[in-house]
Amino acid sequence: MEGHQRNLYLYERFNARVLGVSRDDVTTLKYWAKSLDLTFPLLSNITAFLGASFDIQPEGQPIFGRRTVIIDKKGVIRYVRDGSPDFKDILLFLKKLTQEGGKP
């Protein structure tokens, strides 16, 4: 998340916004965001429907896997990667997305 925070000015350049999604409750996420000085929204999804709809909740387990998803302005999922975010890959993809579609 700190990596995303560092890259906000670059996401802005590519007309992108970042949202974090977690099963943690709102209070926990507030403290966590404060401790890392995060300024982008974190969504608390304690019922896990987002994890289920993104197919990243292992069956029978209470946690999400870690997945990065990029959705374009039409709502189409264009990028999915599991594991720790590869920030350089994300930035290159956003740059490509901007170039291919004009100013999104």
Partner: protein, 202 residues
Amino acid sequence: MKKRWGAIICAVLVLAWLSGCATVETSKKVPYKLSPQGTVIWEDEFEFLPPPPDWKLLRVETGENDINFGFMRSDPGPFPSTTSFAYDEEPFGCSTKFEEREREFFKRFLFNAILQFQVLEKRKTQVLGGEGLEATVEGKDPVKGEKVRAKVVFGKRGDRVVGFYITQWRPMDGNYDLSAFEIFDRFVNSFKFLKKSFYETL
């Protein structure tokens, strides 16, 4: 006016987070070469004056493909007498302003290792051809009977803050060896970027 979003990045979190951990370099592929002037050319990206040969090379694993490396030395005396220093492409924190970044950085630097922490000196400095910020700190852990003196130098690479830091650990009644800090200063003052960073080329 409402601004349209071109793309949304959803980053899904897990409950556990990994912090960087240091390991001694074991790869057989050497990421550097020596110049005729006695400096090190690191992956054709950085140039710097290396420390004396008794310092071992360190690679720091961040898991986020950022460039971190440094050197460490075992010092005379009982545990934990060691000194290490490093260049960090993405030091803790996010801000591009030095004062803010220093505050963010020290929320986590040495976080797990010390109980008492104080800033001994903080001042503006010249580094990497521009303005920077330098802080010297000391931490003490009376329970473990250990102390650490550290110096952190923040500079800029393009829009982003990069960092150099040295940490010297001693038993509580041990003496610091300030000559290691002079070696660190020479490393920092000699450090040059040979090409633009990835972020500057976007």
